[in-house]
Symmetry: C2
Subunit: 123 residues, 2 copies
């Protein structure tokens, strides 16, 4: 059995408040994270909440990146879903961690869409 | 410790090809799934790939729904992330499963953003 996709879920703690609350900065970090991983950006949608916090998603040809920030807690929930063998979701994840100036992170990778190799190749 | 969010990852198999390859239908199902769960829709971004397959994201006040479809495999990867106690991600997940006419599903729920209860409440 082989997976169609890899889905990294990262809990990013101890981040810089100003970065987590800056919509344009979060947009830039997410898009650059996608590009650094070699992904192709297709759609970008972000939303800023009152009094604080940002939700954002970048749809890539290889699936998506999504972020939700709690600036007051210094916390961001990131998930990076990639399909195919060309793009490594950890490259994008590590870039976000660096740009958010995180002090601590826990992350896990889930395999998505398990199929027999021959069926996946034909799909 | 309490979680800020719940993140349901669902592997949806045996879906209807036509539904998985219809951008407007996928958009409608995702938005309705969010609304059925009581979520507030903020942004919607979808993309259709050639020759087939759709990626889509709905940003909600309570986080997001994301879908990636492989019509040729009858497979869709869904994730529903909700924060707060008001919206149940499984309500949205079950709605999508029903509308995609899925024959089989495996799903798991991840807790996102663990904080001591008092810090979460103050955040």
């Amino acid at each position: 059995m082989e997976a169609l996709g890899r889905h990294v879920l990262a809990e990013i703690y101890g981040c810089d408040f100003a970065v987590l609350n800056d919509l344009e900065k979060v947009r830039e970090v997410l898009v650059q994270a996608a590009l650094k991983a070699g992904a192709e950006v297709r759609e970008v949608a972000l939303h800023r909440f009152s009094p604080q916090g940002i939700s954002g998603v970048v749809v890539i040809s290889e699936s998506h990146l999504a972020i939700h920030t709690w600036p007051e807690l210094g916390y961001a929930a990131l998930d990076v879903f990639t399909c195919g063998d060309r793009v490594n979701p950890w490259t994008a994840c590590n870039y976000v961690v660096e740009k958010f100036k995180a002090k601590d992170i826990t992350a896990t990778e889930m395999k998505r869409g398990m199929f027999p190799a021959e069926k996946k190749a034909a799909g």
